[in-house]
């Protein structure tokens, strides 16, 4: 009697490298090819991508739609701003560490409350809790700078002080720093979603009852996912603050959470790469929309409505369908 064994996964994923290497080369070479404004937009895009893959751990993999992720993005941004203002810190590494710590605590607190619920109530609860933070940032203006926000100057990267032109710094050293953090975050998240834990999350997403009946503690796993998700999005916020130069309540308000959802769905929340693609696409879309017309909200709103009406699986969903069709045609 022969036993069937699974095909052993090859050590080097050639198919993935086929597109990964060119993309990496493009990203690495970009500052020498395109102008500073483009690079800075791309940097914002990469930062948004980190936030989106954090968010999508909950939506795509655990089946929980959070409308309060602005709390973590803003939490990261304000953690940096507070470290500048009150602790006189300027090190980017310390900024990241502080953001991770702050958002771990915050997401543990929020998550403990929120993961008891699913669907609409989860969404409303996350929204309300993020609004608590927004209202505090808004009202306690002597601590948080209110609507004016708090200034965030250029940080030191790995100990070296930024020298020269700020735009030059942002579009070169800072861009590479963000790119490196982005690569690390993508790698970490990729491992997490492909781990046994990641599979357990998908089980919880697909069928909560059955997941419990194969021995998975639903609430605990959701909470762990929530914390990881919050920390990742917080890292994005921390990287964003020095780039933006300012931490303001705009990144805490619930409509910003909506943008995070928008960009994830735009790219396709059922794939790993979708949120990355969607976040970068959304960043460019918004940047050009804002530059093109004062009615950019209308533009983006129409895009969103058309997206959910006609292309619910997002960009990557469409790409996969196209690829499948091409494969069949061969």
């Amino acid at each position: 009697m022969t036993t069937v064994t699974a095909a052993r996964p090859t050590l080097i994923p050639w198919r993935t490298l086929a597109w990964l290497v060119p993309v990496a080369l493009v990203l690495l070479a970009a500052p020498y090819v395109v102008d500073e404004f483009q690079i800075i937009t791309l940097t914002y895009g990469l930062i948004a991508a980190i936030g989106a893959i954090g968010f999508n751990l909950l939506l795509g993999y655990t089946g929980l739609l959070s409308f309060g992720h602005s709390a973590f993005f803003g939490g990261g941004a304000y953690a940096v701003a507070f470290m500048v203002k009150y602790l006189k810190i300027a090190s980017m590494e310390l900024f990241l560490a502080g953001s991770i710590l702050a958002n771990a605590i915050l997401s543990l607190l929020f998550g403990f409350v929120c993961v008891r619920y699913t669907k609409i109530f989860f969404g409303i609860l996350t929204l309300c809790l993020s609004q608590v933070l927004w209202s505090l940032a808004f009202k306690f203006f002597w601590v948080t700078g209110g609507t004016d926000g708090l200034r965030v100057p250029t940080p030191t990267l790995l100990g070296s002080v930024a020298s020269g032109d700020k735009m030059q710094f942002l579009s070169h050293q800072y861009y590479y720093y963000v790119l490196a953090v982005f690569a690390i975050c993508v790698f970490l998240m990729w491992v997490i979603v492909h781990s046994p834990f990641g599979k357990a999350l998908q089980a919880i997403r697909d069928n909560e009852t059955r997941a419990e009946f194969i021995g998975i503690r639903i609430r605990r796993y959701r909470l762990i996912a929530f914390v990881i998700s919050g920390v990742f999005t917080g890292v994005a916020g921390a990287l964003w603050a020095p780039l933006n130069g300012l931490a303001s309540p705009d990144v805490l308000i619930w409509t910003f959470s909506g943008e995070i959802v928008f960009m994830t769905v735009l790219g396709g929340f059922r794939t790993f790469v979708g949120p990355i693609v969607g976040a970068i696409a959304f960043t460019y879309l918004k940047t050009y929309a804002v530059g093109f017309t004062t009615y950019w909200q209308l533009l983006l709103g129409v895009v969103l409505v058309v997206l959910v009406l006609l292309l619910p699986t997002g960009i990557m969903g469409a790409v996969e369908r196209l690829a499948a069709r091409v494969k069949r045609a061969r």
Partner: protein, 292 residues
């Protein structure tokens, strides 16, 4: 003593407007199971239309009653918009997962925000002539704007009318039947699509009315819809999604709590409200009057 009366009136004033907005939101959710994120912007639409209509009519000799005739214009406009929205944008999503419905209404929110800006520009619109025209009443040693009392009156009338509508009319029976069991109602011959559009229109009418009656006392300003929506959320969370009694109870609680904290410790007024909502969700997710 007069101070207390004034505080109570202020709370009731806020509650009245909130009840209209949250009641509409809750009604729509109760019947259609859709959480309309753009609901606040229908309130804003009502405010802008009414302010605009009154502004058009304002002249040196315009009698007061004209203003009051024009005030409901906002509610009617919101209702009309609601009917169009339901038919074109919402209907394709009834069979889809609720994530997509939420996203669609969020897109609608963004669209409405800019449509309002496109039509009326970025500057606030006001209708203070109406507010001033009614003067003020005396309470003890102080004076209190009469218009505020009118608003409270409208709120009470609306609550009574809605209650009668939902519990004493044939349409109300159909509404309640559809909200409890859509398939059963359909099997019994109820035209569910018609009920949906009517419920949605009614909900939008309420939101628009809230905007219409609030605009004499505070200007119609961009972003008011987004702010109002979260407050409406707090109300329906406390009172229970889908319940009109809940919207009333929630609106009263929020009105009172807000008044208390604005007087005592204004910085945390909003935070306290959000925390109460979170607490209610934590302890009794269905809210005071909702079904789980």
């Amino acid at each position: 003593m007069e101070v207390l009366v004034i505080h109570i009136l202020n709370a009731l004033l806020y509650s009245s407007v909130l009840f209209l907005i949250a009641g509409g939101l809750s009604l729509i959710y109760g019947v259609m199971r859709i959480l309309n994120l753009a609901h606040g912007n229908l309130y804003a639409l009502g405010a802008f239309v009414s302010a605009w209509a009154i502004g058009l009519a304002t002249g040196p000799n315009t009698p007061n009653f004209v203003f009051f005739l024009l005030l409901p214009a906002g509610a009617i406009a919101a209702a009309a918009a609601g009917a169009v929205i339901e038919r074109t944008l919402l209907r394709p999503f009834y069979k889809r997962p609720e994530e997509y419905q939420l996203l669609m209404t969020f897109g609608l929110l963004m669209i409405l925000e800019d449509v309002i800006r496109f039509i009326w520009g970025p500057a606030p619109l006001s209708a203070t002539s109406v507010y001033a025209s009614l003067g003020s009443i005396t309470i003890g040693d102080g004076r209190y704007p009469t218009y505020n009392v009118v608003v409270i009156g409208v709120g009470i009338v609306a609550a009574v009318f809605l209650w009668a509508f939902i519990y004493r009319t044939r349409f109300g029976v159909l509404l309640r039947a559809t909200s409890q069991d859509k398939r059963m109602a359909s099997a019994l011959g109820v035209n569910v699509n018609r009920i949906y559009i009517q419920a949605f229109t009614l909900g939008c009418f309420m939101a628009g009315l809230g905007g219409a009656i609030v605009v004499p006392s505070q200007s119609a300003v961009l972003g008011m819809g987004v702010d109002a929506l979260v407050l409406a959320f707090i109300v329906v969370v406390i009172g229970g999604l889908g319940s009109l009694e809940g919207a009333l109870a929630g609106a009263l609680i929020v009105g009172v709590v807000r008044e208390v904290f604005i007087t005592l410790y204004p910085e945390v007024e909003l935070a306290v409200l959000y925390l109460i909502a979170a607490l209610v969700l934590f302890v009794r997710p269905a809210g005071l009057f909702g079904r789980a």
